[in-house]
Amino acid sequence: MTELPTTAALLPDSASATGSLRGSVASRLLPQTRFGGPIPWVIAILIALVVVAAAGGLALRNLAENARADLSDAVTVQIIEANANLRASQTDAAAQALTGQKLVTSVRVVPEAELTELLEPWFGASVGSEDLPIPALIDVELSRRATAIEIEQLQALLESQAPGARVDAQSNWLRPVYEALAALQYLALALIALVAFATAAAVWLAARSAFANHRDTVEIIHLLGGTDAQVTGIFQRSVARDAAFGAFIGLALGLGAVWVLGQQFSSLDSGMIAGGGLGLRDWLVIAAIPLAGIGLALVTGRITIALALRRML
């Protein structure tokens, strides 16, 4: 009875083990909370916000790019002349002069009926009459985006043919809109950065709290020869589980919100809004958000626990 059991283990080779504990063992060393704590849900809300912000930012980028692509390689020539006959002759002359230019790929004189139809909702049935003349419009497609000097050269070319002609680069009309869209994109990026910071802060607080709650267990593990890597691994399992749960719940919530918003905007039936649709690459970026969230939580958790362990012997 006094003899030591013969199977009491000797640890000749394993005594220098420094790796992580096996999964099932590590998971038992800290009591599992079955997602009862607030952290998975905080992460879910934060990830949902990032998904919505990212989807919004990507949609705005697509919208701006599509609009820019449509408009940047074109100019509009307005023939501003009250006399209808003179306006018609100047329009023909301007169209002819433009057709021969190297930069110009196509010239289309917008029919008066089309202009009238466009303006009628605002000016009423009298639009286009002698009382309310409207300028003639020429849509000019260019082989590339024109520089300011080239626009001035086109203007100069038309001076002699049509003194009332005015050349407008279409991209200039929408510059304030582009600038507003860019500001919104930066806002979305700032929101994502803020939420990422909040996620890291939440994980930091949770890891510190978990460490404080289980400090006795950590001390015992240390005194029995556990390494910092093993202790960190135990906590990281817990952080990873909470973060994964929260991230995928957050993704589902965020996608739901994006879908609802998408339905709302698509019902507007606006050509410009249609340019803000999300492509495959955008969806892949959105799908990567929960993974990035889990990664951020793991790194934050690891750093937090490592710093706490450094204060112990």
Partner: protein, 247 residues
């Protein structure tokens, strides 16, 4: 790690204070040799637990030098401490079992931390639990166990990996005399069969006489009584103070 050393532990002029309080241990100089059996005695508050904390590497001294297994542990980076701790078995006065782990998992912890395969854990742990009479309580959690049962789990955990040095703080304080003797015989078996150096802190003088040729270290107000200088310069073949010589 497998180097042969002539001494397990060597303290040289070691002092320990907590914060700015007066020293709880002063001028400790002694050597513990491989395969020896030491009793550490002294009144409550004499500094026994503080000395044990230094021995099981839960505390660094405020001054002096400590060598353990041939290495200066004062300057040892903390990342290397686990290697040394794995060569120690510790029975804490308050047991320090992991509350949410079963008795089996508590005993298995040193093996698992050392990287033992799960297949190599089950039999030794089961045998050890059987030896301390707790086979039927293998799945019980500490909160549901009596003090004596917890103490036996703590002892099983301390010896499961056959440590090079076993440090026990009042290991028989919560068990009946029969179990106390049995546990002491386990320590003796470890000491004689495996060559484990054993340090047992106790104030039970009857216990001291149960282990022939054991050495006595007596602490008094943080200082080791060493009238003959034997603790500082111990003879390899004789005791510092023979347990049989005690009243």
């Amino acid at each position: 790690m497998n180097e042969r050393v002539s001494e397990i532990v060597k303290f040289d002029n070691v002092g320990l204070r907590y914060g700015t309080d007066p020293e709880v241990l002063s001028d400790l100089s002694f050597t513990l040799f491989p395969g020896s059996f030491y009793f550490l005695t002294g009144a409550s508050g004499a500094g026994k637990t503080s000395l044990l904390k230094l021995l099981y590497l839960a505390q660094r001294p405020s001054r002096g030098a400590i060598r353990m297994f041939g290495k200066d542990i004062i300057t040892l980076p903390r990342v290397r401490l686990p290697d040394f701790r794995r060569r120690l078995g510790v029975v804490f006065q308050d047991f320090r079992l992991v509350e949410h782990l079963s008795a089996f998992d508590n005993v298995a912890l040193p093996l698992r931390l050392a990287g033992a395969r799960e297949a190599d854990v089950i039999k030794p742990v089961s045998d050890m639990l059987e030896w301390v009479g707790l086979s039927h309580r293998a799945q019980a959690h500490p909160a549901t166990m009596s003090g004596g049962e917890q103490q036996r789990v703590a002892i099983a955990r301390a010896v499961i990996a056959r440590p090079k040095m076993l440090i026990a703080d009042e290991p028989t304080g919560n068990v009946d005399p029969e179990m106390a003797l049995k546990l002491l015989r386990l320590f003796e078996a470890l000491n004689k069969r495996v060559g484990t150096t054993v340090v047992v802190a106790t104030h039970d003088v009857h216990l001291l006489k149960k282990v022939p040729n054991s050495l006595i270290m007596r602490l008094n107000k943080g200082r080791l009584s060493d009238p003959t200088g034997a603790l500082r310069f111990p003879p390899r073949t004789s005791t510092v103070a023979s347990a049989e010589a005690l009243p």
